[in-house]
Every structure is written in structure tokens, then in C-alpha cells.
């Protein structure tokens, strides 16, 4: 699996800043550095999990990739069928055409469907835009899509308020699938659902991925969910990727102190497992004024003077032939510890 991977999307030095305005003349006094230099490669057919606490920039990253918010810097090279293009540089018209390949499923199933459209109406707009079929064919297509997400055909004529949260989320997924995309960004797609429904949606996502060879960018704060769905996981902190590894590898050889703390904080639904918790002090610092050096140093128990002044780079490590990237000055030291255990 590791060799000759087909890179679908290559994100380089992506930055999304939002200006902070103040005063009568709305002068820009600073920037919220929501995404602050992210480099990632997304492979075809994989699920890349992006995890982090609220405010770490994971949603902004997802939205920037679809240009739902405009990134300030950086490039995203996407391998289209007719060659690789930088989607950040595409002009309006061109981008509209390629948008078909990139779809998103939003967190809140209640606000992502227009209440005044029937379900068919919600599907019809994107289909019409990309000129797929005539009305009859579109109806057939929608019926098929609904069947894919285990909903009966006649739901097409109903309005969103008639559905439960789980059903709406499945409609959202079906809508994202309607234009036959390659990549779907799932932005906290299961977070708003009850546990029993969450399992239904997760299984559905996995099934669809196999059937349609989809690539998922799975954004979530829930590590147990991401462990279940993702092939690789990127951990974000204050707009930066701090650790990136294959799923099993990340749990077996956790290198970054932040990932360790995050993992230890998760309550496990297994009464036989008691674990040591690594308490984290304080809150995530403000992204307007991030700490100097390593962004995690004020909360890190291993922090030294070097961490305060020097920004660590994302560096590769190799465990049992698998690549593992971490941005910590003391990665080597932690790597030795995890292998010796």
C-alpha cells in the first residue's frame, strides 16, 4: 500500500487568514491564522482523518480546499482526468467545472438543507447546473441515490422538516454523491447524531467508499470515530499539522506530546481499561496571537527554551517501514521511547 500511491491532491503551504478589523475606519489590526501553513498529500481512495480541538482550523482547511473560503496563500494541486491543476489558481468559470469532483457534507443536518425545497429540489439544482440528464432521468437518478442511502423513493417529494437528523444527514450524503464526485469532505458529518444513528451513517460511508472508490477527507474531533474510518490521520493544532501517520501507527507510536495528551483525555467505553491521563493545562491559545516557537509549548510538559524560540518543522520518521511525520524538536527522543517499550 505504501508504494506507488496515486496522489489525488497535493496541498502545499496552505494559509487561510481572516483579518481582524477594528475602529471607525475598520482598519485591519491583525489576522486570525486559522490555517497556517499546511502541507498534505491526499491519496486516491483513502480516508484521511483530520482531528483537533475546536478552533484548530480543521473546518477552515476543509472549506479552503473547496474554496468556500478563499485561502491567502499556498497551492492545492489536484489530479484531474486531464492533468494536474492548481485549484487555487483556477478562474471562476473553470473552477465551477471542476467543482463537480469536490463535494462536502456539513456538520449540521438541520441547516444544510433548504427548508423551502423538496428533497428533489435540493438534488435538482446541482444536477441541472452540471447538465446531467433531463427531468425524467434526474428523477431516476435521485431515486437511485436515495436507495443507496437506504431511503425510499417517495421521500423525494417531501420537505426537510419531515425528516429526522439521521435521515437528513443521509440525504446530505446522497446529495454530495449526486454529481459523482471523487473527493468528499466530511466536516463533522456524524457529530450531531445520536450514537445509534452515528453507527448507521459511518457504515454507510464505508460502504459507499468501496462501491464508488471515493476519497474522504474526514474532519472530526472524535478520535474513536476517526480510528474506525480513517486510513491516515493528521492531527492539527492552531492551524498547523503536528502529527501525520497511518491510523494504527499513530496509536501504536504516538510521538507528539499533544497527540498523547489528546488520546489520554478520551473516555473509553470499556470498563476494564484504566489508563493514565496526561492532564493538559489551560486552553488553546488564540490564533490571532499564537505563541512564539512551537505553538504547543505553553501547554507542553516537555517544553524547553528551544521550543519557545524555534518553530519545529514537520519531519519524517520511519516505524516498521511506515512513514510517520511529526513536528516536535524532540521527536527522536520520543521515537526511541516508543520503540523500546
Amino acid at each position: 500500500m505504501a508504494e506507488n500511491r496515486d496522489v489525488l491532491m497535493k496541498i502545499e503551504n496552505l494559509k487561510t487568514y481572516f483579518p481582524v478589523k477594528k475602529g471607525v475606519f475598520k482598519r485591519t489590526v491583525g489576522h486570525v491564522k486559522a490555517v497556517d501553513g499546511v502541507d498534505l498529500e491526499v491519496y486516491r481512495g483513502e480516508t484521511l482523518g483530520i482531528v483537533g480541538e475546536s478552533g484548530c482550523g480543521k473546518t477552515t482547511l476543509g472549506k479552503s480546499l473547496l474554496r468556500l473560503c478563499q485561502p491567502s496563500e499556498g497551492s492545492v494541486h489536484y489530479a484531474f482526468s486531464d492533468g494536474t491543476k492548481d485549484i487555487m489558481r483556477l478562474k471562476g468559470n473553470e473552477f465551477d467545472k471542476v467543482r463537480r469532483n469536490l463535494q462536502i457534507v456539513f456538520q449540521d443536518p438541520y441547516s444544510s438543507l433548504n427548508p423551502s425545497f423538496t428533497i428533489f429540489g435540493a438534488f435538482n439544482d446541482p444536477l441541472k447546473k452540471f447538465g446531467i440528464g433531463d427531468k425524467k432521468e434526474r428523477e431516476e437518478l435521485v431515486a437511485r441515490l436515495l436507495a443507496d442511502v437506504n431511503l425510499p423513493r417517495d421521500y423525494m417529494t417531501r420537505y426537510p422538516n419531515e425528516f429526522s437528523g439521521g435521515q437528513r444527514q443521509r440525504i446530505g450524503i446522497a446529495r454530495a454523491l449526486s454529481v459523482d464526485p471523487e473527493l468528499i469532505v466530511c466536516d463533522e458529518a456524524v457529530s450531531a447524531l445520536d450514537v445509534s444513528i452515528q453507527a448507521q451513517v459511518l457504515k454507510l460511508l464505508k460502504k459507499l467508499q468501496v462501491e464508488r472508490n471515493l476519497t474522504y477527507l474526514f474532519i472530526t474531533h472524535d478520535l474513536s470515530v476517526v480510528e474506525y474510518v480513517a486510513d491516515r490521520i493528521a492531527v492539527m493544532y492552531l492551524g498547523k499539522v503536528v502529527e501525520l501517520a497511518e491510523t494504527d501507527d499513530l496509536f501504536a507510536h504516538t510521538l507528539h506530546p499533544y497527540t498523547k495528551a489528546l488520546l489520554s483525555a478520551i473516555p473509553i467505553a470499556d470498563i476494564t481499561k484504566k489508563k493514565k491521563r496526561i492532564p493538559l493545562q489551560g486552553d488553546v491559545p488564540s490564533p490571532v496571537n499564537p505563541p512564539s516557537g512551537c505553538p504547543f509549548h505553553p501547554r507542553c510538559q516537555h517544553a524547553t527554551d528551544r521550543c519557545k524560540s524555534e518553530v519545529p518543522k514537520l519531519r519524517p520518521f520511519v516505524f516498521e517501514g511506515k512513514s510517520h511525520q511529526v513536528s516536535c524538536h524532540y521527536g527522536e527522543q520520543f521515537a526511541e521511547e516508543t520503540t523500546s517499550v
Partner: protein
């Protein structure tokens, strides 16, 4: 291991004597109905449990199962068009037992109890705190309404409380407003307010659902410390089985207004006797089990509360259901010391 859940049917007579000193709150056969649009939602149906000093009772269930209604009935915070139909809620304070359900909602006695003896923290600290008053003012208000304190003394106490809850720079923070606090801080401020009068019971209604896991861990750590220090009883309402495994001494699983299973955390989590508990545990991904763990979603959805199944509420979604389940609600059965279940098929579940 204390067995808190005692499905009580035969002890009405003894009740007044407060059989064990450890029990601080007893709920018996509680029924609560909501009336809207000429329809009646039986939100709680015959639920019974008791809480003990220094123990945490977790109520777990999906949205709409009646967890919050249970908490609100104990605090008498139910909405206007609802009432306690039958059953009792008894608070065993020092030297006296008070029937909470018979008190007037906003009567003097209830108001004295609320906050001083039983305190509550809510899910969303931003909506629970008043944005136009400083945090300090809101804690002072709480202190002054229950204790004979001057304003200056109350402020000092507030600072002390914020300090105990781990809010940095409490002298400065006490004068700040809720929007200046972060989510975790706000929840700490809420807990400070709840702890102001050293209550005997703390009711926490999904206290960490809106928070990040690292902050959640901090808040739980704080709650555990308080429990040990003050021998406080905690009623923790959650939908997260992980939280239950982490925090609970005792567990009650609710479904559609019934407690379907209750017992100690080990009993319920390790050997669930009710199909719903089992299904719930199988439907969540557990950290550390990897990509190939089997998830079994519960089929169907929760029924409409106005159009309930006749017999066992879980029967339409249950793999074990037989004809008998659709006719009659199973009664409370004790399968083991302190382990109660409402299911006809508990033997199949427990013994394979």
C-alpha cells in the same frame, strides 16, 4: 460496591425512616407528563432510583429519552405545561426528609433547597450564564440569597471559589463577563456557582458535551476531586458511554422514558442484561480497537413519543423481541444484587 438502584415496590412503609444513612435522594415510581396541543407525552414512566452520598450515578440514553426531564423534575424546573403525575422524590437531608414533589415550584422551601442542597450545572454554559452581569456578580447573587453575607464577603468567597475551580487570576476574572471566558472557563464558573453553598447533590446535565476532550478531562478531574473532598452525590447525565465508563459508580440506562437497566457500572457495562444497553455498546466505535472493529447500528429510529409501541418500548428495534414483548411492558426484575433490568429475555442475554 454500593448498589444504588433498588427497584422499590414494597417499601412504602419504611420509606419515612430513611433506611440507610447513605441514601440522599430517592425517586420512586415517578411519572411526568407533558401536555401540548391537546396531546399528552408521557415523558417519564415509573422510574425509580436512589442516589448515595459520595457516589456518581450516570443516567445514559439517546436524545429524547427523558434524561433531562428526570434532572429537571428533581430541581422542580419543569416547564409550565407539565406535571408530576404520580410517584415521589424524597430528599434525605440532615435530620429530615423532604418530599420534593409536593413542594410548590417556586415556593420558599423549594427555593431554599435549590442551590443550597441540590445544585445543577447545565450543558451550555453560555446560555446558562447571564451575559449582562459579571461572573462574580452572578456567584455573589447565589451566595447572598442563601447565606447571610455582605457584598464584600460574598465577593471574597467568589474569588475563593473561582480559585478552587482552577480559574487563573481569579481576582481579575471575577469582574469579567461571560463572553470574556473560554468554554472550559465558563463551565468552571458554572461549577463554582453550583458549589457556592456546598450542596449535597450536584446534578450535571451533559456538562461537557459542548467542550473539547482535553477540557472535558479537566472538568471531570475537578468533579471527581469535589466528590471525594465533599462527599457529594453526583447525578451525571450523558449520552456518551465512554464518560459512563470513566465516571460512574452506578448507571441507569433510559429509553423512551423508562429506566430499562440499572446497576453498578461494572454490572451494566460488562454484562448488559438489556438488549438496548447491549446494542448501544455495540454501536459505538471504541478507541484502541482499530479499523476492523464491528459496529452494529441499532435498526430503525426511536418511536414518536405520541405514538408509542404498546408493550416494551424497544421491541420494534430489538433482535430478541417475541410476541409477548409487543403486548406488555416487562416489569422490573433483579438479576443480581443491585442489577435491575426490564426485559423478558434477560436470561438469554446474560447466559448466551
Amino acid at each position: 460496591m454500593g448498589c444504588v438502584m433498588q427497584p422499590i415496590r414494597h417499601r412504602w412503609a419504611e420509606m419515612a425512616f430513611n433506611e440507610s444513612n447513605d441514601t440522599i435522594l430517592e425517586v420512586k415510581d415517578l411519572c411526568v407528563n407533558f401536555y401540548t396541543n391537546q396531546r399528552c407525552n408521557k415523558a417519564l414512566r415509573n422510574i425509580s432510583f436512589s442516589m448515595k452520598r459520595g457516589k456518581t450515578l450516570c443516567i445514559v440514553g439517546e436524545s429524547g429519552c427523558g434524561k433531562s426531564v428526570t434532572a429537571n423534575s428533581i430541581m422542580q424546573l419543569l416547564p409550565e405545561l407539565s406535571r408530576i403525575e404520580s410517584g415521589s422524590i424524597t430528599y434525605h437531608g440532615e435530620g429530615q426528609s423532604i418530599r420534593i414533589d409536593s413542594l410548590k415550584r417556586n415556593g420558599r422551601k423549594m427555593r431554599r433547597l435549590r442551590g443550597q442542597e441540590i445544585a445543577m450545572i447545565f450543558q451550555d454554559p453560555m446560555t446558562a450564564l447571564n451575559p449582562v452581569f459579571s461572573v462574580g456578580f452572578q456567584i455573589d447573587e447565589m451566595l447572598q440569597s442563601h447565606l447571610p453575607l455582605s457584598r464584600k464577603e460574598a465577593t471574597e468567597r467568589s474569588i475563593q471559589l473561582l480559585k478552587e475551580m482552577g480559574v487563573p487570576l481569579p481576582e481579575q476574572r471575577v469582574h469579567e463577563y461571560p463572553h470574556q471566558y473560554s468554554g472550559g472557563m465558563r463551565q468552571r464558573a458554572m461549577i463554582a456557582m453550583a458549589m457556592a453553598c456546598a450542596p449535597k447533590i450536584l446534578i450535571a446535565d451533559e456538562p461537557t458535551t459542548a467542550l473539547d476532550v482535553t477540557i472535558q478531562a479537566q472538568i471531570f478531574e475537578l468533579m471527581l476531586d469535589l466528590k471525594h473532598e465533599k462527599q457529594m452525590a453526583i447525578l451525571l447525565i450523558t449520552h456518551d458511554m465512554g464518560v459512563v465508563a470513566e465516571m460512574a459508580d452506578d448507571v441507569a440506562v433510559m429509553y423512551m422514558g423508562n429506566i430499562v437497566e440499572s446497576g453498578s457500572a461494572e454490572q451494566v457495562m460488562a454484562s448488559p442484561a438489556h438488549p438496548y444497553t447491549k446494542a448501544l455498546l455495540e454501536s459505538i466505535p471504541v478507541l484502541g480497537k482499530g479499523k476492523n472493529q464491528k459496529l452494529e447500528p441499532i435498526r430503525g429510529t426511536t418511536p414518536d413519543p405520541y405514538d408509542r409501541p404498546k408493550g416494551c418500548q424497544f421491541a420494534p428495534r430489538c433482535d430478541y423481541a417475541t410476541d409477548g414483548c409487543a403486548v406488555q411492558m416487562p416489569s422490573e426484575t433483579i438479576v443480581e444484587d443491585g442489577h435491575m433490568v426490564r426485559c423478558f429475555h434477560h436470561k438469554e442475554l446474560l447466559h448466551g
